[in-house]
């Protein structure tokens, strides 16, 4: 057992998989020589050399296109898109090509690739470098969508993503890179599509993802002091979605909240709510409430960004008011 930061876990996870399988490559802007602008890939160039760890031009379509072409012909590439906002510059390749090709070819083409990207706000980077866009990916059939909340999950889920025969969008959260956590020794391989109950409770279920998980946990702590017992679920992946864990929890608590960093409209929480509203309607004892960033672009100033993204306070207050 060692304590690692979330960013070090990224490098450790990639290294674990590159050691295991020589078909695994890493490409992206500044990933090699510089070790990544978030310092999430240092040491990989030194260990695996300039062919397997390669810096690219600023050409996002070429980066993910290269990953796609390579994946269909025998490599298992990991491509980095530096900030998840930049996925928009290569969305055609991701959403129209990578996601659809297995289906369109009726299974002739497999695309075992991972697109890693730094997602989310909290770093005062403004509207074009702070988005939570995991719901963009969730909307596209053919993409798996993973978003870990802690270092151990980073390694285990990254390994599972690299080994998965389908394309995986792997969302690392900027605000978590510096956070630390215990990581078991030895090879770590997790399972996609498994949510985790990170705190048990009886009065309500809070479903959270990535950087919202520690916030939901902190809110649960405060709520517990005030006599409200909430269960917190870390979804970990949106596709596949572990609906059993969510529905099972609602069966117990009878109330559901989502805690989403994305702007409100069609966030992943909307999908979770719609599943609950259909499948466990009779378990519910009251309205389902989504706690999200308002439907606005993210502002840059710290004073503003802090009120935009769901805070521990806002979670606590909302849950208290709704359950009151």
């Amino acid at each position: 057992m060692a304590e690692l930061t979330y960013r070090d876990a990224v490098a450790a996870g990639i290294a674990q998989e590159m050691r295991r399988d020589e078909r695994v490559y890493l490409i992206g802007e500044d990933v090699a020589g510089a070790g990544g602008v978030f310092k999430a890939t240092p040491g990989l160039l030194a260990e695996f050399g300039p062919r397997r760890v390669r810096d690219t031009p600023i050409s996002e379509e070429a980066i993910v296109g290269a990953a796609m072409g390579a994946a269909m012909t025998g490599l298992r590439p990991i491509a980095e898109i530096m900030f998840s906002d930049f996925l928009a510059t290569c969305w055609d390749i991701v959403a129209n090509q990578i996601a659809k090709t297995r289906y369109m070819t009726d299974g002739q083409i497999s695309l075992p690739l991972v697109i890693r990207t730094a997602n989310g706000g909290g770093a005062r980077f403004g509207a074009q470098h702070s988005q939570s866009v995991e719901n963009w990916a969730m909307a596209i059939p053919g993409l798996k969508v993973v978003a870990p909340s802690n270092p151990a999950d980073v390694i285990g889920l990254l390994a599972a993503s690299v080994r998965d025969p389908d394309p995986v969008m792997f969302f690392e959260h900027k605000a978590l890179y510096a956070t630390k956590g215990d990581v078991p020794d030895g090879e770590l391989v997790d399972t996609l599509g498994t949510a985790r109950v990170v705190r048990e409770g009886s009065d309500a279920t809070l479903v959270a993802l990535a950087a919202m998980v520690p916030k939901a946990l902190a809110a649960a702590e405060v709520l517990a002091e005030r006599g409200v017992s909430v269960e917190v679920i870390d979804l970990r992946s949106l596709v596949p979605l572990d609906t059993q864990t969510v529905l099972g929890s609602i069966a117990k608590t009878s109330r559901l909240f989502t805690v989403e960093e994305n702007p409100r409209l069609t966030g992943w929480g909307a999908e979770v709510v719609s599943i609950a509203a259909e499948e466990c309607f009779w378990d519910l004892d009251g309205p389902i409430v989504r706690i999200t960033t308002p439907h606005i672009p993210l502002p840059s100033a710290d004073a503003l960004e802090d009120v935009a993204i769901p805070s521990v306070d806002r979670i606590v207050t909302t849950v208290e008011q709704v359950l009151a």
């Binding site: 796609m68 390579a70 269909m72 055609d92 390749i93 090709t101 070819t105 009726d106 059939p141 599509g193």
Partner: protein, 335 residues
Amino acid sequence: MTSTSTPAVEIDQETRLDLYRRMVELRLFEKRAYDLFMEGLVKGTSHLSLGQEAVAAGFGAAMRVDDYTFCTYRGHAHTLSRGTPMARVMGELLGRSNGVTGGKGGSMHLTSVENYAMGSYAIVGAHLPIAAGAAWSAQERGSGQVAVCFFGDGATNIGAFHEALNMAAVWKLPVVFVCENNLYMEYTAIESVTAVANPAADRAAAYGLESIIVDGNDADAVYAIALETLDRARQGAGPSLVEAKTYRHGGHSRADPGKYRPDQEVEEWLDRDPVDTYRERLLAQGIAENALTEIDDDARTDVEAATQAAREAPAPGPEVLERNVWADGSATWRN
């Protein structure tokens, strides 16, 4: 290295007959596809290569069996020219279960991985970076394979073209980019929206590449430049960008009569029909007419058989609808 109609290499008779056979097959196949479209059997859309057969034939004949082909929605010819069975392509156009993708892809998404036809991509430009990726993989695996990527003149103005060419050049990837310049995008002339006269060749220098123009209606010339560029790629000398000047005999897609094109222009290009002119050349070179007629007849028989097979094949059943989204064969996104 600007190539002209006169090929630098000697092409043996067997190859010439092979080129002819390929073109005739493509010609007859596409004509039949048009008829079936008019009959209402090709449901969605369909983009034919009538008039452009020499490009697919020339490259098809020159490629190694395991070289990769990437093409567009106008991809029947390129897919067939890798050996994909006609019946399975025809079945796909008709949305039948015997189609190469069982009806999932349709006319614009023909794919036959066993023939190294790695897909037809229907969004302009997208497959250039993907082809570069396949070339990168071939390079890393040391397989000696080359990726050949066909696209239209219109694709030279989209961003993906630029990104793919630059990356391929910097990484010295074994990929040959082939622009089939048929003078038009859908209904708009390429010259009206492009800053240079030769949309591909005049951009080659921007990627440190040589400017290559080839007569895309001359199968020998295409074959020669294909050999040369494939060889360069295989030797590790990096990518090439080839601009093949050609013309489509019909409209852009479906039943488009192509009326936006001046009559005289159409006539001039019909006079330069790649199949007819090649037939004449072969005859002039002393090849016996009945050798050609035999090829014609065989092709006719093949197209007939393919049509029959496709017509008779059943439509895909609803049970395949949610098949093959994922590698486990399912479309399951939840537990």
